[in-house]
């Protein structure tokens, strides 16, 4: 199989150009609210030309040439790379094409930099393809992850009329100043979101404390003490998560209804830790096992009781693991929604997720719903970003729980 750099350049240039023209069109549509429509055939052709030019001249300065050429195409109907509605100003059009040219040529130059005209060896050939895939992958994944979150924030800052007027407009009207946050203000004044925030915080913190109180001794026992059934226990504890929550929720609902625990925060605080204890125990026992047993044995020799050994030696050594587990459990409790939905009916004791669920009705405008979503997401994301190291570790180990 002969590998020709011309063929490869044509293909990569064309495909990259398609990706970029779609990306630029979507981005400009969202930013301005005006229609931008990529012409895929034209953009593929132009991208292929750009690739060939670069392959030949090996210079990034072809951007200038390229931008001028692309803008020139604007003057001919049906020849343009991105069709732009008449509402756009001349400046917007030229800006679009300049951005397109830059984003097309610069990464393309990196992708093709190891290619020489003519035949290429397999290594260079595949390296170019991989660079192309990396570029496309980053663009697609970043956009796909980012857009729903951006829409959440953007919608929460708009008014009903603005939303219906042009759904395409992703811009934020900063001239409104503090008026931007009207939905948030209303949620806190009319919808008790302040209370929900506190309830969620209280429930989550209590869940973390209770979970640790149960899981630390259990994990220590499984990791350090010898007893029959130890290995079975440590291996099967996670089997609990094979059981779907909805299946447990049904009898719990019945039991709580009969015991009068439904619609109480006590009921919620009783049930949340049980859903997190097994995974916390599993995570902690793994960490305890990794700690050197000699230090603990030295403590035992010096006459400390087992409890003091745990309190004075094991736990201080395990602080990073405790942080990871606590954050992970906090996240689960904070995000929990199914049990809150089934067990809580009284708006006075809603948790945040239950409060957001109550906003999902035709009577509540959707900017309120999205503001509620932002309020419930923001604390956990801030916590995540601030303590990413611990959180990532917790996710990586605890992720075995769905």
């Amino acid at each position: 199989m002969s590998r020709n750099s011309y063929v490869l350049t044509l293909c990569l240039g064309g495909m990259w150009s398609i990706v970029i023209s779609v990306l630029v069109s979507v981005a400009m549509s969202f930013l301005t609210g005006i229609a931008f429509k990529p012409n895929l055939t034209n953009s593929a052709a132009l991208g292929a030309i750009a690739g060939l030019l670069f392959l030949h001249f090996k210079s990034k300065s072809i951007i200038i040439l390229f931008t001028i050429f692309a803008c020139f195409l604007l003057e001919f109907p049906d020849k343009e790379i991105i069709w732009i509605s008449e509402d756009a100003t001349r400046l917007q059009k030229i800006l679009t094409y300049t951005i397109y040219s830059m984003v097309l040529v610069l990464p393309l130059a990196t992708m093709l930099k190891s290619l020489e005209p003519g035949k290429v060896d397999r290594f260079d050939f595949e390296t170019s393809i991989i660079r192309f895939l990396i570029g496309v992958g980053f663009i697609i994944f970043t956009v796909a992850v980012f857009i729903p979150f951006y829409v959440m924030v953007m919608t929460s800052l708009k008014s009903q009329q603005e939303l219906l007027l042009n759904p395409l407009n992703f811009g934020i009207d900063f001239s409104k100043g503090l008026g931007l946050f009207r939905s948030y203000y209303e949620l806190f004044t009319d919808f008790n979101f302040g209370d929900y925030l506190w309830t969620s915080l209280l429930v989550s913190v209590l869940t973390v404390i209770i979970t640790l109180a149960f899981a630390i001794p259990g994990a220590y026992a499984v990791a350090r003490l010898k007893f029959k059934g130890r290995s079975v226990f440590s291996q099967t504890i996670l089997l609990i998560y094979m059981v779907p929550m909805i299946v447990l929720a049904l009898p719990i609902y019945i039991g709580f209804s009969m015991a009068g625990l439904r619609n109480t925060l006590i009921g919620i605080v009783l049930i949340y830790p049980v859903t997190t204890i097994p995974v916390a125990l599993y995570m902690l026992q793994g960490y305890f096992r990794g700690l050197p047993a000699e230090i603990e044995e030295a403590g035992l020799m010096d006459g400390l009781s087992r409890f003091s050994v745990i309190r004075r030696i094991t736990l201080p050594l395990a602080l990073p693991a405790l942080a990871s587990v606590s954050l992970y459990v906090f996240m689960i409790a904070w995000n929990e929604f199914l049990l809150a939905l089934m067990l809580l009916d009284d708006p006075a004791i809603f948790t945040l997720t239950r409060g957001v669920a109550s906003l999902d009705s035709s009577e509540v405008p959707r900017q309120h719903l999205m503001a509620g979503a932002v309020i419930s997401t923001l604390p956990i994301l801030i916590l995540f970003l601030a303590l990413e190291r611990f959180m990532t570790k917790g996710l990586a180990v605890g992720g075995v729980k769905g």
Partner: protein, 413 residues
């Protein structure tokens, strides 16, 4: 790993074992109470003819009234108790009524089912049929001090007791729930939706996770930021991101539809979460979007543990990037990939929240777990919901046997 255990149990190791069980006891108890007990309850309930309203057992209710409006001392009046069975169909047994008659009312005659001791009235009324009502009348004469202190007859609350038969604890069993579940027209639609969602959601999340892990295995500036961003879908509350998706894809005011229409890709907006072929695909895409971070974390952790020397050796031998990926990376990742597949398969199968929030199970997206909720709470047939839960168990059992065999052969786990 630790010091070698002696073969026989000495008193010390017995004490250690006892201590270990003491430490584990709270966990075992709580897990038994909230997981094992409900599981057994589900099997029990699935054979019960029980609806949501049956959760409140039949009980006796009473209303108390003073008839005859006494105006002055010596006027006659009647205390009337109206007692009824709260349930229209279930009987109650051993109904009794107890009340305190104010001393300012002098009792003349007492119903023959009742007895009066001092101020205390006790009546025993026997069994009540479903929907049965009874009236008790006590003739009284108002004394002078009745008018002075603004007394109401309901100040002392009449208490009624009675044993209703609780449908949960009796021994009436039925197979109706299972017949209902298997016979319903949508049963196969539910199974199809479940399998589609599970298989494609699992594979999709792992493939995307593998791809992103490969991307993030490269060193570049801002890598931490991108990695953090890629974890957002999993870290954020499901309720927030699910509603964001619903709004993003809304047929009337959703940005995606506006974009598609404007670009001329579609003529009329698509109701992504409410229209038949799209809804199931969309919930699967959402599942991939939300859970690929988990896969990529696992895979990335494994990748970073791979020996660099192996790659260097391959490089020296002139292996191309795809060859390295295919013959080196992928085989070393196969273990974690299959474990991920197993875990994600079962958890995707068990997933409820996501579909419930996105479509509520409409437009053929009702999976088995959503069906449990639908039957138990939307249709109020708890027995049928439990029957669906039992079907879920049968599936899980089947999966675990299958996976167990497969893994025994492949991994020696």
């Amino acid at each position: 790993m630790q010091n070698a255990a002696p073969k026989t149990l000495g008193p010390l190791s017995r004490r250690e074992a006892r201590f270990a069980w003491t430490l584990l006891l709270p966990t075992i108890l709580s897990v038994a109470l909230v997981i094992v007990l409900p599981l057994m309850a589900i099997f029990w309930i699935s054979f019960k003819p029980i609806a949501l309203e049956d959760l409140r057992p039949a009980s006796a209710l009473v209303r108390e009234q003073l008839r005859g409006k006494p105006k002055q001392s010596g006027d006659a009046a009647i205390i009337r108790y109206k007692i009824r069975n709260s349930s229209q169909k279930d009987p109650i047994f051993g109904v009794t009524l107890a009340d305190e008659i104010p001393s300012s009312l002098e009792v003349i005659t007492v119903d023959k089912r009742c007895s009066l001791k001092g101020k205390n009235l006790n009546c025993s009324l026997g069994a009540f049929e479903g929907g049965q009502r009874e009236t008790l009348e006590i003739r009284v004469i108002a004394k002078q001090d009745y008018f002075g202190n603004n007394l109401k007859i309901t100040d002392s609350i009449a208490k009624v007791t009675g044993r209703g038969e609780n449908i949960l604890t009796n021994f009436n069993f039925t197979l109706k729930n299972f017949v209902h579940v298997f016979d319903s027209a949508e049963f196969w639609t539910v199974i199809y939706a479940t399998l589609f969602y599970t298989v494609f959601g699992t594979i999709g999340a792992i493939v995307v996770g593998l791809f992103t892990a490969l991307l993030l295995n490269i060193d570049f500036r801002g890598k931490g930021l991108i990695r953090g961003l890629y974890l957002f879908p999993y870290v954020a509350p499901v309720i927030a991101v699910a509603f964001a998706w619903v709004i993003l894809f809304d047929p009337f005011s959703g940005s995606i539809n506006a974009l598609l229409v404007q670009m001329g890709i579609v003529d009329t907006p698509i109701n992504f979460f409410g229209q038949k072929p799209y809804a199931l695909i969309m919930v699967t895409v959402f599942e991939i979007w939300r859970y690929f971070p988990l896969s990529f974390l696992f895979i990335l952790a494994r990748m970073q543990a791979i020996d660099v020397e192996m790659y260097e050796a391959a490089d020296m031998d002139g292996a191309s990037p795809f060859q390295i990926f295919w013959y080196l990376s992928l085989p070393t990742l196969m273990g974690i990939l299959s474990i991920l597949f197993l875990l994600r398969f079962i958890w995707t199968f068990n997933k409820f929240d996501d579909i419930f929030l996105l479509t509520g199970g409409s437009a053929d997206t009702r999976t088995l777990t959503v069906n449990v909720y639908e039957q138990a709470f939307a249709v109020s047939n708890i027995g049928a919901g439990a029957a669906v839960a039992v079907v879920i168990f049968i599936f899980l059992l089947f999966f675990s046997i299958f996976f167990f065999r497969f893994f025994n052969r492949e991994e020696g786990l």
